[in-house]
Amino acid sequence: MSLFGKRNHYFSLNDILASQERVPISFGTPVSYLGELDASSEGNALPAGTTLELSYWLVASLYQEDGVGIDLPKQYKQAWRDILAADAKVVNLQRLCKYFYEFGKLVSLIRIRDHQDIIELLIQTLVDRHRELTSWAVHSCKRDNEFLEKLEDIERELSKRATAAERDLSNWLQHDGGRIRKAELVNAHDRLVASTRAFT
């Protein structure tokens, strides 16, 4: 099963959490009744020119309204693009944005202008960091948690799967491997046969 496929079902926590990340948004016109979004504002309405950082899921339903401007979150701006292009391996993505890739994908959907740039940034970052990630996952016998702490959410899952495969192999080499179990399909079939027998 693919990683993304498994992550992004309706109740996927990672997906919901990724859409909680904040996006800077500015209002060109006053907005009535939304004063409580801005803790520092007085009164019921947001005055024109207010700039806020709101969760992505709220911004996504506002971005097509008139007078609403959306800015890129800082990690996808030029300054960070340059840093990531220089050496993506040393960046602590966990601290920068816990859902760097997924959130980036989401942001690219509401910033059509920057869509291509963001996607290219995400892919380049992934590819640049991948080699480091694999060599860490493969030699994880010397538990270097410093590196794990730099990984972003998807990368952690990638490394977890790679480590599991490596552990499976070294277990097999040292001992006799695990037991082969029946496929889930066969189990289901057995249960079906047993239950039909019970009813006839």
Binding site: F4, L109, H115, I123, L126, A137, L158, A162, D168, G177
Partner: protein
């Protein structure tokens, strides 16, 4: 997705020569083929799992396959090192068979040297596989042809390469397939469509 234990199971189907220490003229008929008859001292070809079972009961002596030979393996290692590509292995399950036959109380001579030679070849090949996976990921090609990778190597490489490729693909998948609220692909089935519309209404509330 196969794991090492399942690949070992497949490796056990490969054939090996044994020298039985008993005589039994009966032939065992199995789906995979017939086994026997056995005559003491006369070499006989059986699947590895039979050989291992008989060996455990002290009823036979396992003869090393031709390719399980120090000089040959060292030659193979040099060839593997010299080539940019993968070279053909003497057996599809070289690692599995070596692991099965070269246990501590093995009949085969120089078992530890053989084990080391096999491990060296494995290391060279896996390092090569990882490097080429990385090149492939960087290059952004659509396909790559690799010959002569064995199953165990594929199994070892899979999580590293496929998951990364999958993530990369999902990131670059076209815009129209996505709803603005969810990175899951909408529209592949009516169920996922209703899911994503449900999630839009949930989150905009």
């Amino acid at each position: 997705m196969m794991n090492t234990a399942e690949i070992e199971f497949l490796a056990e189907q490969e054939e090996v020569t044994i020298i039985p220490k008993f005589t039994d003229q009966r032939v065992v008929h199995l789906i995979a083929g017939d086994i026997g008859p056995f005559r003491a001292g006369i070499p006989c070809v059986v699947p590895i799992w039979v050989a291992k079972t008989l060996r455990k009961k002290q009823k036979c002596k396992i003869v090393a396959p031709e390719w399980l030979d120090i000089d040959l393996l060292e030659l193979k290692l040099e060839e593997e090192k010299a080539s940019r590509f993968f070279t053909q292995m003497p057996s599809e399950h070289y690692m599995g068979i070596a692991h099965l036959l070269l246990s501590d109380d093995s009949d085969i001579e120089h078992a530890d040297r053989l084990r080391l030679a096999i491990k060296n070849i494995w290391d060279v090949r896996v390092a090569k596989a990882r490097a080429s996976a990385d090149t492939f990921l960087r290059g952004g090609g659509r396909h790559a042809g690799i010959d002569y990778l064995t199953q165990l190597e594929i199994c070892n490489l899979r999580p590293l390469l496929l998951d990364a490729l999958d993530t990369k693909y999902r990131l670059s998948a076209p815009l129209e397939n996505f709803s603005a609220l969810n990175t899951s692909v909408a529209g592949s089935s009516s169920l996922s469509q209703s899911f994503s519309s449900a999630s839009s209404s949930r989150r905009s509330q």
